[in-house]
């Protein structure tokens, strides 16, 4: 009789033979064996004569390929014993066999490293793949194998990763500028984003105060056994000391400016020595490894101009047509939601400024002749983002002119915070030419802003989202009516 079978901790083991008797005695010993059951000993039956099903418990730390000794002693009424040994009534005989344990291997692969049951990784440590940064793609693949072969699982799942996460950030580059931009919800429907199955893909958006230990649990169940949980531990780091200096200028009336030659206009800054608004960021890079092309990205969302013109027929309320739905007199593709401002990412100084992270804006509204007075203004939200540009050496999002160059990285830009700002003015047509630098017949009646200032940067994990975009164009279309737009 040969008794040999791979042993799994807590599993049933079956011996088949002939002549065990109705109450055979089972003895199992060896490395890691912590217990076993023998139903035939407590509940003798005729089936025990040929089959013994026992449950063996082996310590989880038992090395693979450990040798275990199994001894079966035939007993009971007229056991036949083990041939060729002759037996008589009431006698007992024994047989011994060796069994070998096999390792059940559970792995959670990340960048080709197994993080299953890893310890808390140190950071900074570029050699430890579990030291990660925000915006880095976290793609985990779990597997359960026995002797190198996949084990059929009854179920497998992942816990929601702790901290703020996203499934990605989707920019529609089929149009220029990109018509839409939005984060991907988690859990989602995409591959590895359901929290079910053997893989998980997401991005961390923050790391607490800049560095935090986070555990992701993978659960699996082998048929007939209880659910097992395997952790993978990450040290997540993020940029710290994030700040934006936001000096602001003055709204004024001008005949032309370096910004444009649209004629008489209300313009926020746009004059030499009077920039409308400047965004000057600073941050300390994260401890964790980030790419050599890591970058700051700016993204601005604008709400569209609201304008009130005093005409011979009274006040006319106007709004940029691309920000009105078609049924409300807007453009054919009009959309009342805020729009991407010109490009993704926002245009930075490509050549002149050594630190290319500073951006500015000097928006304006051209004044239409024939109106006695025009009130106009617009609001904006500028978002600061940071892309770790991973894997190292990849090219993140960029611009060629105002055209988006799609990223070649697996990482995404993650939001760091926003600056909400607006400008507006009341221009009165005096019909009298004004001295330089005004040069128009219009005078400013506005008091907002009264003086140059500095706006606040508000930290945030919210992505800039848009469903239409304002592109460069020769003109701006307005839709007007006698009552205010909602």
């Amino acid at each position: 009789m040969r008794l040999a079978r791979a042993l799994l901790s807590g599993c049933d083991v079956c011996w088949r033979g002939v002549g065990f008797g109705c109450s055979p005695i089972l003895s199992i010993s060896g490395t890691g064996v912590t217990g076993y059951t023998n139903p035939c000993a407590s509940s003798p039956s005729s089936s025990c004569d040929s089959t013994i099903v026992a449950t063996v418990t082996i310590d989880a730390s038992t090395p693979a390929n450990s040798q275990e000794t199994i001894t079966v002693t035939a007993g009971g009424q007229n056991p036949s014993g083990f041939l060729p040994v002759d037996t008589g009534p009431g006698e007992q005989n024994q047989a011994t066999a060796q069994a070998t344990t096999a390792a059940l291997v559970v792995s959670i692969l990340f960048n080709n490293h197994n993080l299953a049951n890893n310890a808390t990784p140190p950071c900074p440590d570029s050699t430890n793949s579990a030291c990660v940064v925000v915006g880095q793609q976290i793609l985990l693949t779990a597997s359960v194998t026995l002797n190198g072969q996949p084990v059929q699982l009854q179920s497998q799942s992942w816990d929601q990763p702790p901290g703020a996460i996203t499934g990605g950030y989707t920019i529609d580059t089929t149009t220029s500028p990109p018509r839409t931009g939005q984060p991907v919800a988690m859990p989602g429907t995409g591959n590895c984003q359901t929290f079910q199955g053997n893989c998980l893909m997401f991005y961390w958006l923050e790391a607490g105060n800049g560095s935090v230990t986070r555990t992701i649990n993978y659960h699996y169940t082998i048929p007939g056994q209880s659910q097992q949980t395997v952790p993978a531990i990450f040290q997540v780091t993020a940029p710290t000391n994030v700040a934006v200096n936001v000096p602001t200028g003055l709204v004024n009336i001008a005949a032309s400016s370096p910004v444009n030659n649209a004629g008489a206009q209300i313009i926020y800054g746009g004059q030499k020595g009077n920039a409308g608004i400047i965004f000057s960021p600073s941050l300390t890079p994260p401890q964790g490894p980030y790419g050599s092309n890591s970058e700051i990205d700016w993204v601005q969302i604008r709400s569209g101009n609201n304008m009130t013109n005093l005409t011979p027929s009274g006040n006319q309320y106007c709004k940029t047509a691309s920000f009105l739905a078609p049924q409300n007199g807007g453009a054919a593709d009009g959309d009342p939601s805020p729009a991407l401002d010109t490009s993704f990412p926002y245009l930075t100084n490509p050549t002149a400024v050594p630190n290319q992270t500073i951006v500015n804006d000097n928006p304006y509204v051209a004044l239409a002749a024939g109106n006695a007075e025009t009130k106009a203004g617009e609001s904006f939200v500028m978002s600061l983002m940071w892309d770790p540009a991973l894997p190292n050496g990849c090219s993140p999002w960029g611009l060629s002119g105002n055209t988006t160059i799609a990223t070649g990285c697996t990482s995404i830009p993650i939001p760091l915070g926003t600056v909400s700002w607006s400008y507006g003015c009341d221009a009165i047509n005096s019909l009298v030419p004004q001295p330089a630098p005004n040069g128009t017949t219009w005078i400013a009646g506005c008091v907002v802003p009264q003086q140059a200032g500095n706006l606040a940067f508000v930290p945030s994990n919210s992505f800039p989202v848009w469903t239409h975009a304002v592109s460069t164009s020769a003109s701006t279309s307005y839709t007007c009516k006698g009552t205010p737009f909602n």
């Binding site: 000391n241 000096p247 032309s256 400016s257 370096p258 910004v259 444009n260 030659n261 649209a262 004629g263 926020y268 746009g270 030499k272 020595g273 920039a275 409308g276 400047i278 000057s280 600073s282 300390t284 101009n305 106007c318 047509a321 007199g329 401002d341 010109t342 926002y346 245009l347 100084n349 490509p350 050549t351 002149a352 400024v353 050594p354 630190n355 992270t357 500073i358 951006v359 500015n360 804006d361 000097n362 304006y364 051209a366 004044l367 239409a368 617009e378 002119g401 105002n402 304002v470 592109s471 460069t472 164009s473 020769a474 003109s475 701006t476 279309s477 307005y478 839709t479 007007c480 009516k481």
Partner: protein, 170 residues
Amino acid sequence: MQKALVTLMLWWPLVAQVSTITEQNSPGFSLHIEAKPPSVKLGSAITIEVTLTNTSNSDLLYNPGDFGEDVNVRDERGSALKATPEGEVFKGTGDNHKVLPNGMYSFQTRGNGNGKLLIIKPKESAVRSLTIDGLFDFRSPGKYTVEVTRKDLDSKVTVKSNIIAVTLVP
């Protein structure tokens, strides 16, 4: 962080510096244009690539998101091509007023409100594209000439580009 702040502090004085350095009667930039492509089918987009080069010895402020140029188009007989209603807006001679249902109306103003200023260093250039087919009444196939001008606000000189030919084929 320190680097960023230093750069910011440089920006404003730099802007103020431009007008003091530029000579009053010498334009601070040149314009060069090229048709992309020089021959297109009638009804297709006519795109002109404009290269602005800073010819001064000081920095130049430039807004690549705004159409700060004027465009002159002539037919084979040398006659100026008629502007479309949007072209009149672009020239500053009209507002393309249209009556809409429900007592509403629409009009247009020149420019798009974009106000991003870049600093162009001396001898450096900025390239942008102008799509002009919507601005002029290109009704017939033939050969047209295009010239772009832009006013230098410092010298008050109107800078003219080279003149190029654009051929529209049936």
